[in-house]
């Protein structure tokens, strides 16, 4: 693949993601202050001593944003990847085997989706011990129901194609059919869904933090920071908007890259993609 073939929009997206990852990895070295260190007045304005001002307890907003990138991206990404692996695997197995297994998986999925996600998450997280991996796992399992739905729909479309029948006639196993025949042909819609789901994961994590079951203070995460500073908005203080903007920008960057990947993969089919 030639670097010049990558469009400008994708470069912007890549740059944004790279910046976020850089912050996440090297947070202790680039942050001017500590994660939970109280360094000044409450809600001091932008500029001056603190580039982005301070938060509701007088902590440096920039430093918390940099440290927050760590938890937010890690948890949301881990949860999304996990939910996709789980949802796609189960949905593809259901689509390829059909019959009883398909019914079993699909009805169980319906059952899970019938319970409101947030309430389900609240109950489960309140009962289970508060570990980061449990949080990730719960988010992933709940999200995978949505992935399953889409995955099964697109896989069914492909599973009835003649080249899948040809593979069956050749005697190929379910693994080959899922990973070599169906998966490459369902990547486009699933990639699009990935970008969207990742953004939802960040928002869901923020919601959980807001309700006190997500990332526990004093650790910083972007959603939690919005919550911490939300009261400031009434007084005209923009501290809550900064982490909000960070969430928005990261989401946009991810979708720019996903859009480009989608076009690249769909042009292989000989179509124009959505260029």
């Amino acid at each position: 693949m030639r670097l010049r073939a990558i469009p400008l929009s994708a470069w912007i997206g890549i740059a944004g993601i790279a910046l976020a990852l850089f912050c996440a990895i090297f947070a202790p070295f680039i942050a001017p202050h500590g994660e939970s260190e109280i360094v000044g007045e409450i809600w001091s304005p932008m500029g001056g001593e603190f580039l982005l001002g301070t938060d509701n307890l007088g902590r440096d907003l920039l430093s918390r944003l940099i440290f927050g990138a760590r938890t937010t991206i890690f948890v949301a990404l881990a949860a999304t990847i996990l939910s996709f692996s789980l949802g796609m695997l189960l949905s593809f197995i259901a689509a390829v085997t059909g019959g009883l297994i398909d019914q079993l998986f699909s009805r169980f999925n319906d059952l899970m989706m019938a319970i409101p996600t947030l309430i389900f998450a609240l109950v489960v997280l309140a009962v289970l011990p508060q570990h980061l991996w449990i949080l990730i796992l719960v988010m992933a399992v709940l999200d995978s129901t949505r992935v399953y739905r889409i995955g099964r729909a697109v896989a069914l479309d492909v599973a009835v194609m003649e080249f899948v029948e040809a593979a069956r006639l050749r005697g190929e196993g379910t693994g080959w059919i899922i990973f070599r025949e169906i998966l490459p042909n369902t990547l486009s819609p699933l990639l699009a869904e990935f970008g969207l789901r990742f953004a939802f994961s960040i928002l869901f994590l923020s919601t959980l933090s807001f309700l006190g079951l997500g990332i526990q203070p004093p650790a910083a995460d972007w959603g939690g920071m919005v919550k911490d500073n939300k009261d400031g908005i009434i007084f005209g203080i923009s501290a809550a908007l900064v982490p909000g903007a960070a969430i928005a920008l990261l989401t946009i960057c991810i979708n720019l890259v996903v859009d480009w990947l989608m076009k690249r993969t769909s042009s292989l089919k000989g179509g124009r993609g959505d260029a």
């Binding site: 080249f163 050749r170 005697g171 190929e172 025949e181 042909n185 124009r272």
Partner: protein, 548 residues
């Protein structure tokens, strides 16, 4: 080139049509689809547009309505209807022409009718919208047209919904819709291509009768020269958007001047004698009955056999169960009764019970090579996979064998790393054949491998299959609805009708009298490259209007 005269209804001069293509990773390009096309249609006469796919025949046909399909632009020339240039008309002006003076009959009537409305309403809609006639007059004319077109129960036909009538009837209803507002010109875009041969002849006769009755001029688009010879007065042969030859039917069929036209006329020239000894048995289907779990039987008591190295053609119209027979043999649909034996041993009924060696010996080629190959795999991987899977080949050895196979199907190794989307229709089918050959099979089931292809390309594929049979002694079970193909390649023939085997035996026996009713009907329905064939056949054969 005849000069424009008084009787000219439509005259097209120097037509140029362009479109913009968007190749991935490159700036958009302007592509010329049609260039320098001139033709005339006289009042009450029929012009046939003929050519392979991509020749621009539909695009040219639609210019009679001054219409360009998605992204297609008419950029030059003139299209005069009764002396008025349609390309210079504004939006309202052209709307008065479309559906009133010039009407269109699409290839797939099933997709062109609105399934939510009754046929009668849709047939008269254009006449009412254009204010050409009152509702009572329009209904009267629709009834007259239903009669002319030989539709069953013409009085109540209009009350039905599109899904309640057959494909052939729907195509005739669409012709009625086009004829209803008393147009001066009708554009028929492959109206019989999607129909069975036995239905096609009825529709063809009905269309011919209707345009003669109503003295309407028509442009008839098709890729089948034999069909066009029955119905038109003049023929324009197109290739790659340019005119190849333009003349009367008689001249084109009997004395074509261009090389390409000659090839089209003689396309059904492939042929060979049947094998003398048809005693051995590689595949034996014994008294097979198969169907779906709801009790519907698609196949009933079918028994046939196929000797090694020979070709069995299975003929029948759609729904006759010929593809189902292939599915039973492959094990995709286990038979309810009866057995399938291969090389003397009974095959396990279902696919799951068969070993790799049993699977390897029977390969399959599909009708649509597009969907039969994974669009995300290169030719190298498509052909290479059976080599790895059945013979454990890897690396250099595998690449060498893939190259060898590409040579066998008369394509070079420059195709190794192409994706299916980067191949033409004929090339795709060749790659599909190579994939089947890679397994070194003893039997290849061919499910209409040529019916989606242009005649000349199809002929190339048939020649290739015959060549490969000589080289590898492979047997073919060839499913088709085209008697010409049967004549060309078969050793033995099985005729199927509504899930039953009507006739089975060596080609010479099956295709010579005395016939049973169905085989007779089937054989008489295949258009021949001969002017006046349609009239001759219709005399000896009753119209089956109620059935189709």
């Amino acid at each position: 080139m005849p000069e424009p005269s008084r009787t000219e209804l439509l005259s097209v001069r120097n037509l140029k049509i362009e479109a913009t293509s968007y190749p991935p990773g490159e700036p958009p390009k302007t592509v010329t689809l049609v260039e320098g096309v001139n033709f005339d249609v006289q009042k009450g006469k029929v012009l046939g547009l003929i050519g392979e796919s991509g020749a621009g025949k539909s695009t040219i046909g639609l210019t009679a309505l001054a219409y360009g399909r998605g992204g297609v632009r008419i950029t030059g020339g003139e299209v005069r209807l009764n002396g008025q240039d349609l390309l210079k008309l504004d939006h309202t002006g052209i709307r008065k022409v479309r559906g009133a003076k010039v009407c269109y009959v699409a290839q797939s009537a099933a997709a062109a009718f609105n399934p939510a409305h009754r046929l009668g309403e849709q047939v008269i809609e254009a006449s009412l919208k254009h204010g050409i006639m009152s509702r009572a007059e329009a209904e009267k004319r629709a009834l007259y047209l239903f009669r002319v077109l030989g539709l069953p129960n013409p009085e109540t036909f209009g009350e039905r919904y599109p899904h309640q009538v057959s494909g052939g009837q729907l195509q005739r209803a669409m012709t009625a819709m086009a004829l209803c507002p008393n147009p001066e010109l009708i554009v028929f875009d492959e109206p019989t291509t999607a129909l069975d041969v036995t239905t096609q002849i009825d529709v063809l006769a009905a269309i011919k009768h209707a345009i003669e009755e109503t003295h309407t001029a028509a442009i008839y688009i098709t890729h089948d020269l034999a069909v066009v010879a029955q119905i038109t007065d003049d023929i324009l042969v197109l290739r790659h958007g340019k005119m190849v030859e333009y003349g009367s039917v008689k001249q084109i069929i009997e004395a074509p001047t261009q090389e390409y036209t000659r090839a089209l006329v003689n396309v059904r020239g492939t042929g060979r004698e049947e094998a003398a000894d048809q005693s051995g048995t590689l595949l034996k289907v014994d008294n097979v009955t198969a169907g779906y779990s709801n009790g519907f039987k698609v196949l009933q008591n079918v028994s046939l056999h196929l000797p090694k190295g020979q070709t069995l053609a299975v003929v029948g119209e759609s729904g006759s169960g010929k593809s189902t027979l292939a599915r039973v043999i492959t094990g995709l649909l286990p038979p309810q009764e009866g057995t399938v034996s291969f090389d003397g041993k009974p095959l396990p009924r279902a696919l799951k019970g068969r070993g790799n060696e049993e699977l390897r010996r029977i390969q399959m080629i599909y009708q649509m090579a597009d969907t039969a190959m994974n669009p995300r795999q290169t030719v190298r991987n498509i052909i290479g996979r059976p080599l790895t899977f059945y013979f454990g080949m890897h690396g250099r050895q595998k690449t060498e064998r893939v190259k060898e196979l590409l040579d066998q199907i008369e394509m070079g190794d420059r195709f190794l790393d192409r994706f299916p989307a980067e191949l033409s229709g004929g090339q795709k089918q060749r790659v599909a054949i190579a994939r089947a050959l890679a397994a070194r099979p003893e039997l290849i089931l061919c499910d209409e491998p040529t019916s989606a292809l242009d005649p000349l390309v199809a002929e190339g594929i048939l020649k290739l299959l015959l060549k490969l049979q000589e080289e590898t002694r492979v047997s073919y079970m060839f499913i088709t609805h085209d008697i010409a193909i049967v004549r060309a390649i078969a050793d033995s023939v099985a005729v199927m009708h509504r899930g039953r085997l009507v006739r089975f035996g060596p080609k010479s026996k099956v295709l010579s009298p005395p016939f049973d009713d169905y085989t007779d009907l089937l054989l008489k329905s295949v258009p021949e490259m001969e002017i006046g064939w349609l009239e001759k056949v219709l005399k000896t054969r009753r119209m089956e209007s109620a059935g189709n």
